[in-house]
């Protein structure tokens, strides 16, 4: 089965081609074609996964390009990491495809939506199958394109178009670093293939600062894609797209591609301690920083967006401190519970037609399925035992603890506390208390089965998935997906205590404030006003970047435009003006001196069109004269020189 893995991205690709060219000819604009294609890919992925569990490995390549004697062989590979990603991507994509049947029903661009969703799925699957940096980068950009198109789904609104542009451009900045990193890798390893690169590094031919530089530059791409600090600014704005898109692209898959990149090129990173430290610290700062912003957001999707940024930071820390399995495992569990939270929020938005949590409240009675599945997703995110998030977060904390990164450990503990707080706050504001907007509350209703069934499936997974990497399964996942050799961190009471304390404190505080009102929200805000303002404004990064980069670049472009028009072209026009004056003078001169030969040529030109008739014959004559003189002078220069 594993040798059929290449078919997995082909199916959604075919669906993309079909829907975009002929979708209108079938019922539902081809939505069911998309669902069926991704469904088939899911089944195939599971079969491949089972095969890989049994020890199957596949790699195949072909000569994609050649230069002189060198061939550039590129292709695909299936190993445990890829097999895991295949299942994650096809599973979430399939559920989102189904969910969208209800969620996007009646949308103005329903066909376009399903076409691009298929293209995205195909590209994302291509990305995880690539056995080399070049293909990975190519699909990397393609998922960026799909993200751009899907964020801009409702492009009539000005903000939406801007959000799409911002997403593409911000990630592009990281991609440039990645591109230079790829050039450095090729320069030293003479290959784009991961295996070949790993071999060169293992052989010790490539060491030192160049290796660390290459790793850090590659990581720049991951910082952009996974919305890590300081390129995190695009992800919250990307929420302008449909919520189903947010669940698939901006929670589970595309944003995880950065984490996947680090994992996939781990040979480069693990050989450069400076690079690993960079990954860990960027991740750590992001985890804390984004969680703090999530505390004060009023838009339910924005809470989830900053939460995603923060959780991606957790994964980066895991990878950065050497916890390869921990980072990847958190990617998997997070994909499930965050997709669940997004889809549940979509169900809420579908029901009440607002994203502002202050206009919600008390919805648990109106939307029971949505509420219960959301609650499970929240508990998983908060890291409550024994849900998926507990196990994967615990793994990361253990890896940090084992590596004796004390500062990072406390950063993550604080971030985890904040996480538990903000998600509990969101839960209470949305589903508990009194409805704050009666009209919306009355209108609210549970969503159709196409939407709730995916929620239930994801909720079930969010409950059981964590056990895959727990003592109860003998750390099965760690023995399956690993770098170099399987590594199972030893359980530590200290870590378990703080992991538990973080969610107990976070949830407890949120309940005190938002559940029972024992602590006054007003009082907290009033006492901490500067902090609150800073958080509300997201540390002013948008304003800063707008001022420096957007305005700066546009200003530079204006200067260049002006320079080109006035200075460069001015010199040309001035020279032209001078020549014209001169040519008139010579024109008069040579009309008397030089005979018909030149006039003949001029007459020939003259016959050509009315325009030329308006030109002075002197022009043409003197150009020919100028040509002649240049040649003579030039040849003299050569003769002397």
């Amino acid at each position: 089965m594993a040798e059929l893995a290449w078919l997995i991205p082909i199916l959604p690709l075919a669906s993309f081609v079909f829907i975009s060219l002929a979708g209108q000819t079938v019922k539902g604009d081809g939505d069911r074609v998309g669902v069926a294609a991704v469904g088939a890919s899911l089944i195939l992925s599971i079969l491949v996964f089972v095969d890989v569990l049994d020890g199957a490995r596949v790699s195949a390549d072909f000569a994609w390009a050649f230069f002189g004697g060198t061939q550039l062989r590129l292709g695909y590979q299936v190993d445990p990491l890829t097999a895991t990603m295949l299942v994650v991507v096809t599973l979430i994509s399939f559920l989102v495809h189904v969910y969208s049947l209800g969620y996007m029903h009646g949308d103005v661009r329903y066909k376009r939506y399903y076409a691009i969703l298929s293209l995205f799925t195909a590209s994302m699957l291509g990305l995880v199958l690539a056995d080399n940096l070049l293909f990975l980068f190519a699909f990397w950009e393609l998922i960026g394109l799909c993200s751009f198109l899907l964020i801009g789904h409702w492009y009539e609104k000005r903000d939406v178009g801007f959000a799409a542009l911002k997403a593409f451009l911000t990630t592009r900045v990281g991609d440039i670093g990645m591109l230079v990193g790829i050039m450095l890798v090729f320069f030293h390893a003479r290959s784009f293939q991961f295996d070949a690169i790993a071999e060169v590094i293992a052989s010790g031919q490539w060491v030192g600062p160049a290796l660390a530089a290459a790793a850090v530059l590659l990581f720049a791409g991951a910082v952009g894609k996974s919305a890590q600090f300081p390129l995190h600014v695009w992800l919250p704005d990307a929420m302008a797209g449909p919520t189903s898109v947010s669940a698939l692209i901006h929670a589970a898959t595309l944003v995880a591609a950065g984490v996947y990149l680090v994992a996939r090129s781990y040979a480069v990173f693990s050989a450069a301690p400076e690079a690993l430290a960079t990954v860990a610290w960027v991740g750590g700062i992001t985890a804390l920083f984004a969680a703090s912003i999530a505390l004060v957001m009023e838009d339910i999707k924005k809470v989830l967006a900053y939460s995603t940024v923060s959780q991606l930071g957790f994964m980066m820390v895991g990878l950065g401190v050497g916890g390869f399995t921990a980072g990847v495992f958190h990617l998997v569990t997070h994909a499930v519970f965050k997709a669940l939270l997004f889809l549940a929020s979509g169900s809420v938005i579908h029901g009440v037609d607002t994203q502002n949590m202050h206009e919600m409240g008390g919805l648990r009675k109106k939307m029971p399925v949505t509420f219960w599945t959301w609650a499970i997703g929240s508990a998983a995110l908060a890291g409550i035992y024994p849900l998926a998030g507990f196990w994967s977060k615990d793994e990361i904390l253990l890896s940090v603890y084992e590596g004796q990164h004390t500062a990072l450990f406390w950063i993550l503990v604080i971030a985890a506390t904040l996480t538990a707080f903000y998600i509990t706050r969101a839960t209470l504001l949305t589903f508990f208390g009194e409805p704050r907007d009666r009209r919306r509350y009355e209108h609210a209703h549970e969503s159709p089965a196409t939407m709730t069934v995916p929620l239930v499936i994801l909720a079930a997974l969010a409950v059981v998935l964590g056990f895959a990497n727990s003592p109860y399964s003998g750390y099965w996942f760690a023995r399956f997906v690993y770098f170099d050799h399987p590594h199972v961190p030893e359980a530590a009471g200290f870590v378990l205590f703080w992991a538990t304390a973080s969610w107990v404190v976070g949830v407890g505080l949120a309940v005190l404030v938002y559940g029972f009102g024992l602590i006054s929200r007003r009082a907290v805000i009033d006492n901490l006003r500067p902090v609150w303002v800073l958080l509300k404004n997201k540390y002013y990064f948008d304003e800063l970047y707008y001022l420096v980069f957007v305005r700066g670049t546009v200003a530079l472009a204006r200067i260049v435009g002006w320079f080109d028009r006035v200075v460069v072209d001015g010199v040309v026009n001035l020279a032209g003006y001078g020549t014209a004056k001169l040519s008139r003078a010579t024109g008069e001169f040579d009309r008397d001196v030089i005979d018909g030969a030149v006039n003949g040529i001029a007459a020939l030109f003259k016959a050509g069109g009315a325009v030329l008739r308006r030109l002075q014959t002197g022009y043409v004559q003197s150009y020919v004269l100028a040509l002649f003189l240049t040649v003579v002078v030039g040849l003299l220069v050569f003769a002397i020189g």
């Binding site: 000569a63 994609w64 390009a65 050649f66 230069f67 002189g68 004697g69 060198t70 070049l134 190519a138 699909f139 950009e141 393609l142 801009g152 492009y155 009539e156 000005r158 178009g161 799409a164 542009l165 593409f168 451009l169 592009r172 900045v173 440039i176 591109l179 230079v180 050039m183 090729f186 320069f187 003479r190 670049t553 546009v554 472009a557 260049v560 435009g561 080109d564 460069v568 072209d569 040309v572 032209g576 020549t579 050509g608 069109g609 009315a610 325009v611 030329l612 308006r614 030109l615 022009y619 150009y623 100028a626 040509l627 240049t630 040649v631 030039g634 040849l635 220069v637 050569f638 020189g641």
Partner: protein, 508 residues
Amino acid sequence: MTLTFIVFLPLLGALVSLFLPKENHDIHRKWALIVSLVALAVVLGMWGPFDAGNPGIQFEQRANWIPSIGVSYHVGVDGISYPMLIITGLVSVLAILASWNIDHRQKEFFAWMLVLQTAMYGVFVALDYILFFLFWELLLVPMYFIIGIWGGPKREYAAIKFFIYTLVGSAIMLVGILATYLKAGLGTFDIVTIAQQANFDPRFQFWAFLAFFIGFAVKVPMWPFHTWLPDAHVEAPTGGSMLLAGILLKTGTYGFFRIAFPTFPEGADAFKWLMALLSVISIIYGALAAMAQRDLKKMVAYSSVSHMGFVTLGLAAAAGAVAQAKGVGDATVIGQLLANGSMALNGAMYVMISHGLISPLLFFLVGSVLYDRAHTRMMDEMGGYFSKIPVAGTILAFAAFANLGLPGLSGFVGEFFTFVGSFPAFRTLVIIAALGLAVTAGYHLWMMQRVLMGEGKKEESFPDINGRELAVSVPLMVLIVLLGVYPALALSILDPAVSQLMLKLGGM
């Protein structure tokens, strides 16, 4: 004979068209289309007999012309010129189709379009300096009239500017040609013979390379010789812009491949840094200038300056790789360095081909499809075209993404190979050029946001793309995708000739 047929068929067609009735407008465009299609068919027919593995000249034909001074009629193609013939044939056909609704003086217009084809084909097959120069100069005349008669409001200024600029370049090049002929002392103007047999001292090579460099750089155009281009492009009628951007600019870079580099390798060595520097300036400056434009057509014109910078960068990097290889003892290292150069050179050729497909598509969309509907080129006056003309809007988005180097489309492949191949020779410059990619993405996205997204003017409504317009766009789109997905397709033709050039530069 095949090449002679291809070159002179359009000219013959133009002559025949002089006898067609002036009043019957339809007959001229149909005649021009048929002639161009036949020429294209013959070019494509060469695909089979063309031996891709052979790096040398094929379909060669030689005849004495002015034997007393060694001028001969010598034509032929290799892996560098054959792809150029293909895009010349294709873009010519599409440019005529794009000019279908030219509304005045149709007879002259299509006759000039045919003459232009002869000149373009001629430049790419000529293997004699005099013949090359003749075709090179012949390019100017039809383009001058096409801009000057059928152009926009500032057409006269643009036409004269275009003419003077390139004429000055040509004059300096002619000096180079005559000097090369005299210095070589072989009694022949044959490009191949001189490149193979002449023994020029480095001092001479320096000056001769400089002369050709100026002639070609104006045509490319490289910064700071570029200011004719925005004016010419903006004022030219759509068919003219398509050929100007798609083919005429490439005659400049082709000149480097065919003449300047193989004949004066020491000259290339002397100028490699300057060339790389000007290339990177062109890339960044062109992108920034493009961003500053409100006029969509002008934006596309400046983006050509930016993209052609990649071609010259790749060329410079080939010389750079040779310089690095000198004084290295280890054969493996030499091999790797030359492979870098080969990659950069192939990348440069690839950008030429790719830009020869993407820029005509963009100029067609902007100058024809959008302009015929909205009657404006100002981006601020557009908006909401994704909704108003979904198919045309999607094709414009496709072209924009191709132009900004989206993987899976041809633009990426060429730029990627150029970058990776040039990196070892010019690390800092390549990194600076890579920063330009953000600007490139920026102005394309900003354009899409202004033109395609939003609501646009409420009262506006136009018909979506029509059959003829699709017939122009789709062939270009198909090739852009094919070349973007599987580069071996083009490399199998390009690489043998390019790699041989690389070996020649390396003195092997």
